[in-house]
Amino acid sequence: MTETAAIELKGVSKAFGPVQANKDISIRVMPGTIHGIIGENGAGKSTLMSILYGFYKADSGEILINGKPTEIPDSQAAIAAGIGMVFQHFKLVQNFSVLENVILGAEDGPMLQPSLRKARGVLKHLAEEYELQVDPDALIEDLSVGHQQRVEILKALYREADILILDEPTGVLTPAEADHLFRILKGLREEGKTIILITHKLREIMEITDTVSVMRRGEMTATVKTSETSPEELAELMVGRKVLLRVDKAPANPGKPVLEVENLHHIDEAGVERLKGISLNVRAGEIVGIAGVSGNGQSELMRVLGGYGHATGSIRVNGEELDLTGKHSDGQSRRARGIGHVPEDRHHEGLILDYSAWENMVFGYHRGPETGSGVLMDNKAIKAEAQAKMDRFDVRPPNPWLSAKNFSGGNQQKIVLAREIERNPDLLLIGQPTRGVDIGAIEFIHQQIVQLRDAGKAILLVSVELDEIMSLSDRIAVMFDGEIMGERLPAETNQTELGLLMAGVTDTNVAQTKEQTNG
């Protein structure tokens, strides 16, 4: 290749103690392209980008920017070298305006007015050029997540970045917002900017990148042209073996209703109504998936069902009314009614990270008769049982004494699943079953969920991954702003329709949009 790469890494290595996070990474990113970096959690993507942005110093290796060897000791140097970074978790001051955030750290002098005036001009220009419209005077806290992300991109462009790194940018976006982001990125590419996109979503890689590099266990295992590869090949490169991307399941055979929710309302501690009259049912032997952008009431719904959020309305399980406000509205009572719950936040809810695996295996069931008699817990029996469950769910390492925090995301999730599924619940609530879970474990977790369904149990699934909802659910309900916007059968819908519902566009509007597109 004769052309100079925008970024070239040669033999970059970085170790944290005994953990080799990056091993001899070499990569060439050509200018004016979108280069995807894909890999499982813990594959070393973020470490590599942190080295590029000056957060970590590589133990060995060389970084070349536009062919010139460059030292990047800190983020200032990275910015000076023309590198801009859009983090997964935005680094914006919530009560500052867009303009103030853009100039923060890039002020021209002690007085703000000249910088603000200049930034206003630059922003106007950028907005026209790249579809990056944001009201410069709006406060960040008033902006949607998608707009906040635009502010992050504007920040980088304002600092004259030629190379833009985006870390999991679509995790918090609706499909429509993600499409908009991709249009922005394509526009930037046309202007000759270089973009590095870090993601674990194969679909995005296929849709937008020119070249893709795969990382596995700290090593760069392959770099291929996107047009010459397939999702199956990439998945195999990521995991190191063949993976089943589609969930293999027979048609559902639903029985009697297990969960019946009617007109459920929930007002949170800040006084905001989070659930505005939810009605929903789940039958035995059926998986009902709730699609929606996170923050539209799914978490609250799961909490109310799980017994730790007060509500008004009615919830019946196996025909029996649940206590929604009184002293039986807690997790223990729900579990006694045969409701299992895999919460979406396993770090703060599903597990006590400082507890060992065996202690976590009875978390929530620790008052049950099988954990001992009287006030004492039978730790020996609990350990033996935990060991057996860990073996059945292939938790690695199969060591019940290890603290939960020392397991990988996928294995932590398996611990929670083992605990909840092995109790044989009539109804299982599952929130974000595969968030932060590697592809290999995703396959296993999906199989477990389908098996439970086939055993005649009712499953309510909440996920922000539309792919997961579509492939796992027998019926899909879409939530927006505390309401169910509609129900669809997976076979009779598509990402576009669900995406519109997730954005709050109701059925009639969808019909109109369809007509318009057809006409």
Binding site: P18, Y308, H348, V375
Partner: protein, 364 residues
């Protein structure tokens, strides 16, 4: 994997912290023109070399075990009970009431009765801050500190206006009846021709304290309640998910904590003074914080830390007697131990973790 072996975390870190605190204390002693080695020898001699000295050391240690356990139980529920002092004062009031007004036939029964009532009074005093924390979100650190002052004033009032015998100038109760006197180590371990623990205040309460260590161990690591307390302490959101009531755990763990602090009064009031004096607690409630920190909230660690602090207390008061080192210096040393084991924990821990990592890397 964990960054360093458990033994290093449990033993090495506190040990190095103590040595650092001792080193700086030595510098302070040097600065006031005394010989730190000599001072240390005096402390060892006076606190550990005679059975009388040991008797004093164990007496102080008994107080610190109770208050250390009290702080640790609240710690496990991630609460900072600074109110051990006030809860112990109230425990003392309870002890005084049952000893003065109940005609006990024998000291054993009196001990059971006083243990129950001191725990009850201590727990009751802890209940109000606990309730305010659980239901109103008033911070337990603030309320328990305030309750120390209130306890002191209440006790002062009751002693002066209610319990003080007529004609006495002292804000204290009358002497307890003889049937409530607890056996001292002197009476328990002396033989006819060999007097042990002569005039030392150590008494049978020490064994009650040891029993309390065992009981707290079982409570925290063997019972469902202990499981819930620890879970709540690690993650409140997790506790809610599991159906563990934050209100219940906050209140129950503070009741246990206050009860343990209250039981300290058995040692000072019933075992030693045999009457209730105003300043019976002598700051043991606060030292309990240092003891719990240093003992890593584990009963066995608390036992060791309490013995160490007992040694420092006894040795330190003798220092003032034999040298020009003021007794206040012992407070400096205690403060240094708290500083190093509590506040500067990571200062010792992080270099150690690095050391162990590099050793492991060498092995690999």
């Amino acid at each position: 994997m964990d960054k360093m072996p458990a033994w290093a975390d449990a033993v090495l870190v506190p040990l190095i912290s103590i040595l650092l605190a001792a080193g700086i204390s030595a510098l302070v002693i040097l600065a006031i023109g005394e010989n730190p080695v000599e001072a240390f020898m005096i402390m060892v001699k006076e606190a550990l070399s005679t059975s009388r000295g040991i008797g004093y050391t164990l007496y102080y240690a008994t107080n610190f075990i109770f208050t250390g356990l009290a702080v640790s139980v609240a710690f496990h529920a991630r609460m900072f009970n600074i109110g051990g002092e006030g809860q112990a004062m109230m425990g003392g009031l309870g002890v005084a009431l049952v000893c003065l007004y109940v005609p006990w036939p024998h000291w054993t029964l009196a001990l059971f009765g006083a243990a129950a009532i001191s725990a009850l009074f201590g727990a009751a005093w802890a209940y109000i801050p606990a309730y305010l924390q659980a239901k109103r979100g008033s911070h337990i650190v603030i309320t328990t500190i305030m309750f120390n002052f209130i306890a002191f004033s209440v006790l002062n009032y009751i002693l002066v206006n209610v319990l003080r015998p007529q004609g006495s100038m002292d804000p204290a109760t009358a002497k307890f009846p003889e049937a409530t006197f607890l056996p001292t180590f002197q009476s328990m371990f002396s033989t006819a021709d060999n007097v042990m623990f002569r005039n030392a205040p150590a008494n049978v309460t020490f064994f009650v304290a040891l029993a309390a260590c065992v009981a707290v161990y079982f409570l925290i690591w063997r019972t469902r309640l202990g499981y819930e307390i620890r879970a709540f302490g690690h993650s409140e959101t997790g506790a809610r998910y599991a159906g563990i009531s934050p209100v219940k755990i906050t209140i129950v763990s503070m009741l246990i904590s206050g009860g343990l602090a209250g039981m300290m009064a058995l040692n000072t009031t019933m075992g030693e003074a045999e009457r209730l004096v105003l300043n019976a607690t002598e700051g043991a409630g606060f030292i309990g914080i240092a003891v719990a920190l240093m003992g890593r909230s584990h009963p066995f660690g608390i036992l060791l830390a309490a013995l160490l602090f007992g040694f420092m207390y006894q040795g330190g008061s003798e220092l003032a007697f034999w040298t020009n080192i003021p007794q206040q210096l012992i407070i400096v040393i205690q403060a240094l131990v708290i500083l190093f084991t509590g506040a500067l924990d990571n200062m010792v821990r992080m270099p150690l973790e690095k050391l162990f990592l590099s050793i492991r890397k060498g092995d690999a």
